[in-house]
Amino acid sequence: MVNASPVLQVKNLVKSFSGVRVVKGVDLTLVRGRAVALVGENGAGKSTVIKVIAGVHQPDEGDILFEGERIRIPTPNFAHRLGIFTVHQEPSLMPELSVAENVFMGFHPHRKMGPVRWLNRREMYSRAAEVFDRLDIPIDVRSAAHQLPIAQQQMVEIAKALIHDARVLILDEPTATLSQREVQTLFRVVRELMERGAAVLFVSHRLQEIFELCSEVSVMRDGHLVGHFAVDELTPDRLVSLMVGREIQLQRRSYERHADVPKLEVRDLSKKGVFHHISLKVYPGEIVGLAGLVGSRRTDVAEALFGIAAADEGEIWIDGRKASVRSVHDALNHGLVYVPEDRHKHGVALNMSIAWNLAIPNRASVYTYGIARRVDEWRLTERMKSQLQIKSRSPEQPVAELSGGNQQKVVFGKWVARQPSIMILDEPTRGVDVGAKSEIYRVIFNLAEAGVAVLVISSDLPEILTLCDRILVMREGELMGEIDGKHASEEAVMRLATGVGAGRDNNGDGGPRS
């Protein structure tokens, strides 16, 4: 191990926003060559701590020591000059600019002549290409960032931090949208940086990753530091209970098929160049998982089913009758709803209130002649708040002020309020903490118990294994096979998803094809 002196120390950090204390006296020490995990439920204050270190926010109280010296970090730029680089949670790309420019933003390779800094494009492109080589990502660094799928966008975000010889590297949930393989490459590169003396602060909700990468864990709850532990003294269960302050179990349910007619049946659905011959059935009360790596076109199938981008060929049957779903309107009329993947982009209007967001897809029950009936809007909100356990001050609170888990529940609520008979959930717990995750699972289970046919798309394998009664695996636009939820293992799913060690007509590890 490299010299174990602390690079960065945070002491008794306090930070409030509009009078509300978010961080209440947190200590943190980052040491050369070591990775410290910062864990806690959403809203515990992790992101605020990170933003103070990154120079985005200023602390109200407390000290920051860099190499033993007390300092202030007034801007992100200043943090960068100290060698502190941050991979922020949500991709913050510049869509019209090239991948390379996104990576080098603020650090363009240039030659200075007088007051003018001339951009050195050749160097920028070649260095960017190098970084993606190191990350094992085949990417055209000259292409515009808006053309990338979301997983690669996250890799661009990560590449931004890796072009520098970071002394402190902060990773705020960098893996939320990444596949297993991408996570492994990321970890390899992060370990290289650690060997060269970088101190790493790692935030993740995937506990496995914490145990894999980090040597220490700091646990935050409700703005406080609950404790600091060596990873060896912890088990995943113990860590979860430290985070939420209570024992939580993510448990499977038992399910027996009651109906003979599938609620939703898809026959030979194809879209040229996107997905081919997708056939699947979901019975009332059943939860079916759609697993696969990022880019396996699961979302495209969901969008076809919901009428956003219709398929070229194939049939959709609902309740044993052939249905025409050419638009979202059609889908809704058939009782089908879709909870999309990227909640900030498609799910909620962040600046609007909870009540407003919930009312939007439920116009019929809330509006008369286009005018909102406030009482019904509030009634609807209260109903969803209690059914989904949304934590908020009032129905008029803007969604932006809620934690990630509660925002996601609002997205759910919009559609649950319609009392759908078929729900498609795309990454239902992405970026959501363990506590909220278990609550969302319970909501999904309850919906299924009530007879809703649920199709879950998720890249989070434990999630698929916990939730689903049956698992369908996709790869590159094709269904690779089906696995019975009771006997499924992560390994079995991954084998089908990656195509490693499995033939094309393999039906998986067990369970008859229905």
């Binding site: 992100p76 790309l93 600019l97 420019e101 933003m105 494009r121 931004k160």
Partner: protein, 314 residues
């Protein structure tokens, strides 16, 4: 290659060429070199302003005051000249006036963080009012011939204002594409939040396009006055919107982050070609506005169509 074909600049060139070809069959006189150069001469002021407008719009802003700014410059320069101030000094003070006006917009928008559309709406009234005050509502004419010679000069048959347009185009293109500051302007327009996290000072970056816009208004004002030989208190009133139109037709995204100097100039050229065609058809000038409006709508629709096809491809 497919990227090139999708570029607005390319489709504009094709469109302009097709248009010229059609005109060739209708009236061969249209394509005489003299007439083509005349078109460029006519669009030299709006072309210069459109490039500035393009920069401003890239940062998610807009400058509604630029025509009035340019008009004010023409009156200031004209008044100075009529009062016997040397030509070079009048020009320098004129350009400085443009810079100060642009600087005022920049300060209000970047330091006080006021919305560009409101600020420039205010300064539009302010500059227009100043125009009346400078000359008491009188026209400026009978300018010294030494000054008029600038706008009417020719080098190798190419009029001075066109040469200035080309120089401004080259300088701005290089600035926008090849300098770090130019790239920062795109960055701020693409995603202000990400720009801030990358360590850029968004406020300081936003100053640049408005100041440049002011400088360009100064240059355009001098060219306008020396070419036309007169100016009125309403000079430039139509250029506020026309410069925006040219930039948008040239592919500048009204939501920020995308646009090029070449596109802005081509947008101005297209407007100029169409105006000229209307003259050839002896259609009244009022048609100009209608056609201009139609092209803007087509450009915006084409834009949204292009985006959609890219989304499917991506």
């Amino acid at each position: 290659m497919s990227g090139l074909l999708k570029r607005r600049e390319f489709s504009l060139i094709v469109f302009i060429l097709i248009f010229l070809l059609v005109m060739l069959f209708v009236t061969p006189r249209f394509l005489q070199p003299g007439n083509l150069i005349n078109i460029l001469l006519n669009i030299s002021t709006v072309g210069i302003l459109a490039m500035g407008q393009c920069l401003v719009i890239i940062t998610k802003g807009i400058d509604l005051s630029v025509g009035a700014n340019m008009g004010l410059v023409t009156l200031v320069v004209g008044t100075l000249l009529l009062n016997g101030v040397p030509t070079w000094l009048s020009i320098a003070i004129g350009v400085a006036t443009g810079l100060v006006c642009g600087g005022l917009n920049a300060v209000l928008i970047s330091l006080l963080r006021l919305p560009p559309i409101i600020v420039t709406l205010g300064t539009l009234s302010l500059f227009s009012g100043l125009m009346y005050m400078v000359t008491n509502g009188q026209w400026i004419q009978n300018l010294p011939s030494s000054f008029l010679a600038i706008g009417n000069s020719k080098v190798l048959g190419i009029p001075g204002p066109v040469i200035v347009l080309v120089i401004v185009f080259i300088v701005l293109s290089v600035f926008m594409e090849q300098t770090v500051l130019g790239r920062y302007i795109y960055a701020v327009g693409n995603n202000p939040n990400a720009a801030r996290l990358a360590g850029l000072s968004t406020n300081r970056t936003v100053i640049v396009p408005y100041v440049l816009m002011g400088l360009l208004a100064g240059i355009a004002g001098v060219l306008y006055l020396s070419y036309n030989g007169f100016s009125t208190p309403t000079t430039g009133a139509d250029l506020n919107l026309e410069s925006i139109a040219a930039a948008v037709i040239g592919g500048t995204n009204v939501f920020g982050g995308r646009g090029t100097a070449l596109g802005a100039v081509l947008g101005a050229v297209l407007l100029g070609v169409i105006t000229e065609a209307l003259v050839f058809f002896h259609l009244p000038a009022v048609w100009n506005d209608a056609v201009e409006g139609l092209i803007i709508l087509i450009a915006v629709i084409a834009d949204s169509g292009l985006r959609r096809s890219q989304r499917v491809a991506g």
